[in-house]
Structures are given as C-alpha cells and as structure tokens.
Amino acid sequence: MPGSAITAVDARPPGAMPRSLFQRLVSGDRIAYLLTFLCAASVVLVTIALVWELYANSGPSRRQFGLKFLVSSDWDPVAGQFGAAPFIYGTLVTTALAMLIGVPLGVGAAIFLAELAPPGISSGLTFLIELLAAVPSVIIGLLGIFVVIPILRDTVPYLRGALGWMPLFQGPFYGVSLLAAGIVLSIMILPFIISISREVILAVPADQREAALALGATRWEMTWDVVVPYAKKGIVGSIFLALARSLGETMAVTMVVGNTPQIAASLFAPGYSIAAVIANEFAEATGALYQSALVELGLVLFGLTMAINAAARLLVLSTSGKGSA
C-alpha cells in the first residue's frame, strides 16, 4: 500500500510551488512506512529472539539426549533422565479433544447467533460469550474441578458401558484426566471461535444473501450453502487462534489433567502437557541439565505449534483450491 501511494505522488510533475507539499507528502508516507515496518519487524524480532533463547538455553539437554528427547518417556529429575514423549502426547490429545468438541459447538453457535437468532437474544448471548473470554484460566480450572469433574464422575460409567469396547474409554477414572482437560480446554476456546466467526458471518454482504434467496433457497440453505462458505476464511482463522490458545494453555490444564507423565490409551487416564510441566517444575529446577530440559520442552512446544499450524494451513489451502475449481 505505501508503495502504490509513493508511485502515485511520484507520477506528479515536480513543480516549484507544490514542491514543499510534495516533499512533505513523500516524507509523511516514508515515515508511516518506516513506523509500520518497525512495528511489524519488532514482532518478528521478538519471535526470533524467543526461538534463539530457547535454542541456546536448551544446549546441555540437546547435546545429552539428541533426538531421543522427543521419543523417550522417561522423565526422572533425580536420575537426570529427560524425555518429552508423554508431554507431547498429552498436549496433542487434550488439544485434539478440545478442537473436536469446541469447533462444531463454536461454529454452530456462531451461525445461530449471526443468522438465526432474534437480534435481542443474539446481542445478549454474544455479550455473555465475550465475557467468557475474559474469565481468567485459573477460574476456568476451578470450574473444571468443581463442576466438570463431578459431572464426569457421574457420566463416565455410562460412557464406559456404551463405548467401553474402545481402548479410549477403558480403565479406572479418578476425575482428573485427559478427558477433563480436553473438556475444560474446549470451554476456553469457545469464545474465540464464536465471537470471531460471528463477526465474519455478519460481514458477509447482504447481496449474497439476497441472491441466494432470490434463487429460491430456504433460509438454512442460504446460510449453509452461501453465507458459511463465503465466511470460511474467517471461520478457519478463528479456529487457528483457538488451536494456538489450546496448545499453550497452562493453568487450567494443570489443575485438571492429573500431572502424570505417561502415555495411556484411555481418555480416562491422567496425563500431562508441555506447558503444565514447565510451569510446575521450572521454579524449583536445580542443575543445568534439568533446567535446559525444561527449556527444550518450550522449544518443542514452539515447534509443535508451528508444525500443526502449517499442516492445518496446507489442509485448508488444498481443500479451498478444490472448492473454487
């Protein structure tokens, strides 16, 4: 944008009178360009500095364990053995569960609020949902302990009865579990998905809707076949934001996940996540190797977030390509 503005000004013949004005305009554009460039660059710099710090400070652990760090499930601070596998597993499973619950629920709610609900109800509900985004994660964690887990305690026997033939729903249930963490995370990501998706659905131009209705579509056909595909990019963006939030969430997860570094097939079993173990153990981690192993976990989480985001973007690109063709 700044580039085009400059060429537009440059195209003017430089006269004696408007020269000062012209110069001021050019320098104004340049200043704006420089300022906004610095803003953008500082974000990139912070990210690069972050990765560099994580990389540099995880040195002892990287040298000691190499790639074995990613696959080993031994986390023994006393013996100086560190492996990230159970934490990676817990992070992925809880996030997958949260997305599985949160995405359909969130997108469905956004469609209802934007398209179908009476305006009064819609604005009231939207206000409440945006309030949910402002609730601190430690409060959501308490909600998990005092509401979600007691409900799960009552429902898990039925789940086990109906779905117990799958390893996912077997074994003893203590309350704190991967399942509880996934549900709590899904509550935390809902407001992100709902409020952003609702905004983009509302921003779909009215002529799109009118055209669909004019072609004889019902209200639902118009919503599902025209409005939602039009808003798809924004909805997907809200899901990415939710994904990032879910991968990095610390406090609420550690309160309900059970903090047990193990890889268990069952969702009823306790687990652990990368962010939770860093928060739990960093303050009292003594010794260079132990600390660097925790820093390396941070690096792994960063890499994991990057990889998942990239994969999801590729997936979206490939499907949307097919859609338009």
Partner: protein, 343 residues
Amino acid sequence: MNRVALAILAVACLTGGVESASAQQVSMNGAGATFPYPIYSKWFDEYHKKFPAIQINYQSLGSGAGIQQVTAGTVDFGASDGPMNDEQIKAFEAARHTRILHFPTVLGADVPAYNLPGITAALNFTPEALAGIFLGKITQWNDPAIASANPGVKLPKADIVVVHRSDGSGTTYCWTDYLSKVSPEWEKRAGRGTSIKWPVGLGGKGNEGVSGQIKQTPNSLGYVELIFAIQNKMTYGKMRNAAGQFVAATLDSVSAAAASVKDMPDDFRVSITNPPGSAAYPIATFTWLLIPEKIGDDAKRKAIKTFLEWMLTDGQKLAPALDYAPLPAPVVAKEIKAIQKIQ
C-alpha cells in the same frame, strides 16, 4: 556542555550527601522458600518495628530460586527448605569467592492426609506401608500392611488413589527423603528430590492442589505440609517413628525430631527425617536461611548478625502462633555460636 557537567556534579554531591547522612539506614533483600514465608514476613516486620533503621525484604520465589539468586548475588541472603547440595555449594564458592552458611530457622513437617468415607480417626501408618503404597505395591486400603497397624478400624476394600505434588517443592523433598531412608527400594527406584519420577499417583499443584484432589477423590491418600493440614482441618495419620511409637504430627513432636538428632553437623546441613527419639515425628525438616560467610558492607553484616540473634531468641517465640514448630534449645545454642562465622 558546561551546564550539564555542573548539573551532574550537583546531583552527585546531593546523593553523596544523602548517603552519608543515612549511613544507619540498612535495607536488605532475601529470596527463597515459600513454606516459611508467613513467619519470615512476621519476623522482618517485628524486627523493623524494633529497629526502624533496618528494613529486610523477602520474596517467596521457591527454594530453588533462593539458591540461584544468592549464588548470583542478586540478593543478600537466600532461603531454602532443603540444604544446598555439594554441587550447589561449589557453584556458590566459585561465583562469590566465599562460603555459604546454613542457619535453621523453624521446622516443618509432612503428614499423610487421606479421604476415607466414614473414617475420621487418625490412622496409623508404618514406614513399610507408606513406602509400599507410594511404590504402588500396596494398592488396597484393607491390605494387611495397613490393617495390622489399625486394629478395630474397618478399612474398605478399595483401591488407594495416591496423590502427590506436581510442582517442585521442599515438601516433596522432605517426603521422598523420608521414604528413601526407610525403604531401600524407594531410594533405588525413585530417590529424593524436589521433583521425582513417581511410581504411581496423580499430581496436584501446590498443597492446595493436593488437598483439593484428596477432598474430591474418595479413598485417596497424599501428603501435605502440616501447617496446611492443620489450617484446613484435614484428616491425617500418625506415623510409626524409628523408636516404634506411633506419633501424631504436632509442634512438640516436630521440635522433638530436631532435638533428637545426634551429632548435629557444624554446617547444619542435615536431614532430620526418621530421627531416633521416641517422641519425635519422623517426617520433619528444618528450613534454612542461606547467608554468605563474608559480607563486605559493614552495616549489612551487623544487621544480619543482630537479626539472627533476635530470630533465635525472641523470634522463636512468635513461631507457634503461626503453627511453625520452634527450634529446640540445643540447636539454638549451636546456631548462636555459628553467627560469629559471619565476617
């Protein structure tokens, strides 16, 4: 340019003047263990009232952070629930070119807290039963190892849900140090540390996380700090000590644990778990102030020495009101002698 130089000179004179005028005013900074924070802030506050010129600030960042900061020299003294190990002492001496002194201040203890529906009595635990439970070898409440120590109590045939701390903590160090002393198998498989690899169990963050999980989970058993258990009215068991007596954790039995330690080392770096005394509660620990042997600043050195003397005499009397077990007299006497080492 001249004017700037003049201004700098004026400011320098001014601050210099202020400094020399308030030479008596001493401000010291410490950081470390969270467990003794309530009593430390009470002490520093009372001491400041007594000697308004001395201001001591304390940040409860955790024992590990206390050791790191005193080693880095960012604070005047550190505080820790566990003594510094040889590696940490070497690092301190390399960084600060002096030695570090350990001064025990008060005592803490860990208790086995549980949630057994219908049982409110204090259960008796033997060291073997406790180690067996935490190793995952004793899995049910009515196991003979538990039942035999509790005649007359009808223990349920239910799985024991073990709960432990998930955050690194001095409470965990004390608990695992005790288990390592009473069970060779525990020492070999898990060992002692502020964070360890637990053979079984769920992790809760902080004393409140563990107690929350115990309260919510029927048939669970975990460990919490004694003060936390008292203040939250939790049900906790008695431990069989080295003399064969079942002892409940109280301020007296915890102080007795420190009193019954034979051959207190000169540097006070000692674990007092599983002590020999018959009245001693066996899962107890000192908490220490970590003070450099050489303090260059005259005023600070004088302030910390007088504070230690006051803490060991008048200060100890403030401890029981906050549920901390005070130091026994022989330890106090030995520490007062050790204050002279600070130069």
